[in-house]
């Protein structure tokens, strides 16, 4: 946002770079989400 791109290379470098950072956030978020969903599974085991 607010960036000026003069070549396709500039654009790809910016957007792909942003996606690489985003992927790190996504991996950690999905891991956290999974741990949240399954966090209380053990409480409901039928002994």
């Amino acid at each position: 946002m607010g960036n000026e791109f003069y070549t396709l290379h500039d654009f790809m470098l910016f957007t792909k770079g942003a996606v690489y950072y985003l992927m790190g956030v996504i991996v950690l978020s999905i891991l956290g989400f999974w741990l949240y969903i399954t966090g209380r599974d053990e409480d409901n085991l039928i002994k």
Binding site: T15, L22, S29, I37, T38, D41, N44
Partner: protein, 408 residues
């Protein structure tokens, strides 16, 4: 004698029957109009909008919401999650009827419906995405029919062909999953041809992936939604196995749907990032996009997560309804709202009342056929003469069942 007749009449004049009767009458009237006067007499379709409500709702939503068939059978037979076995038949029936109604509704939408088989038998166009969609739907409908047939054969007491088909279940499931993977994504790929007509927030080169991933969430949620309604209205048709496994199916599918929705949310964000479309979020279309993304993707994902964590079946069921609504909204947004977004308001498409009537008519026909089949054939129970799947005791890792339905 006349008192007996009045009583008989009163027995049939239930609110449900009256409403259904009116819908069928109206549907019949519009059907006659459509096939005698043509598309122009009953639709607002134009050259700018050759696809309207019938494609958006009956086809795009119909196919997405019928995804429960391949997700459930893949979970049970491909991934070996046998605890979902009792959900397979209702899901297959819903999917079969869903696809059958897609093809039924397509007869209204195409100009010359008698030419529907042409692309396969007369003049194929294998380089077209639409050809791929058509071929997959054609083959998958046949596959679903074969998968559904054992229920009908059990009902009729015909054993030999039923046993042959049951032996082919795994092959049919794999074939069905492959076909679904292809056409669920290809429905999104249809819009790749119109990047200049689509709003940038909804257009992405990843749109086939968006359609495919969202169809999994739609399928899982639809199974929960449909089983909730079935539980409410057809409880007496369910056997012990179905009732015993039902809550486990709901929790399992809710957990799966939560994960898929989160994944879908993130790949949508990746789509915006890759095209650098962030600035559009500050516009009116951006606000609507955020309503869809936050209200109907992120919110259901978190509600599912909370419901699974708190073991709240009621919340799971309402969240399933919200997710189904969200997928319908997404398909409408892609095919109607974001499509031709640059056109002036007076040139935008809004369906005629005839189009709404036919869409409601198609859903009603589906509902009636579902009720007819499910109340007669072994869908929610195993036929005593064809029992293969014994009710299992809940294993250690499984969740305790919970007696709630819609909060009462």
């Amino acid at each position: 004698m006349s008192t007996l007749k009045t009583e008989n009449l009163k027995q049939y004049l239930t609110p449900f029957n009256i409403v259904v009767g009116i819908i069928l009458l109206l549907g019949g009237f519009v059907t006659i109009l459509r096939f005698t006067k043509g598309l122009g007499a009953v639709t607002n379709l134009t050259d700018n909008y050759p696809w309207g409500l019938w494609i958006s709702f009956d086809l795009l939503c119909g196919v997405a919401l019928a995804a429960g068939g391949y997700t459930t059978s893949a979970a049970c037979y491909v991934f070996g999650l046998k605890r979902f076995h009792s959900a397979v038949r209702p899901a297959i029936l819903t999917a079969f009827l869903g696809y059958a109604l897609v093809v039924f509704a397509l007869h209204y939408d195409v100009g010359r419906p008698w030419r529907l088989p042409y692309p396969f038998f007369v003049q194929s166009g294998p380089t077209s995405v639409l050809f791929e969609v058509g071929l997959c739907v054609f083959l998958y409908l046949i596959t679903l029919f074969i998968e559904w047939v054992p229920s009908a054969l059990e009902w009729l007491g015909i054993r030999k062909p039923r046993d042959i088909i049951v032996k082919a279940t795994l092959a049919l499931t794999i074939f069905g999953v492959v076909l679904s993977t292809m056409h669920q994504s290809s429905l999104g790929a249809l819009f790749l041809i119109a990047p200049s007509k689509m709003h940038p927030l909804w257009y992405s080169s990843y749109i086939p992936l968006f359609f495919f991933v969202s169809s999994i969430a739609a399928g899982l949620s639809m199974v929960i939604f449909e089983s909730t309604l079935s539980h409410h209205f057809m409880h007496d048709k369910m056997d012990e196995t179905y009732l015993k496994e039902h809550d486990g199916v709901t929790y399992g599918f809710a957990k799966g749907a939560a994960m898929v929705l989160v994944l879908y949310f993130f790949i949508k964000v990746v789509g915006i990032t890759l095209d650098n479309n962030w600035s559009y979020l500050l516009t009116g279309y951006g606000a609507w996009f955020l309503v869809e993304l936050l209200g109907f993707v992120a919110l259901p994902a978190f509600l599912y997560a909370i419901a699974v964590r708190e073991k709240n079946l009621t919340l799971i069921r309402w969240t399933a309804a919200l997710t189904v609504l969200g997928i319908v909204l997404n398909r409408f947004n892609v095919s109607l709202v974001a499509f031709n977004w640059h056109l002036p308001p007076e040139m935008r498409y809004f369906p005629r009342w005839h189009e709404f009537v036919i869409s409601i008519f198609v859903v009603t026909v589906g509902l009636l056929v579902f009720r007819f089949i499910a109340s007669r054939m072994p869908i929610f129970y195993e036929h005593p003469e064809f029992k293969e799947h014994e009710p299992r005791d809940l294993e250690e890792h499984e969740l305790k069942p919970h007696p709630q339905t819609w909060g009462h």
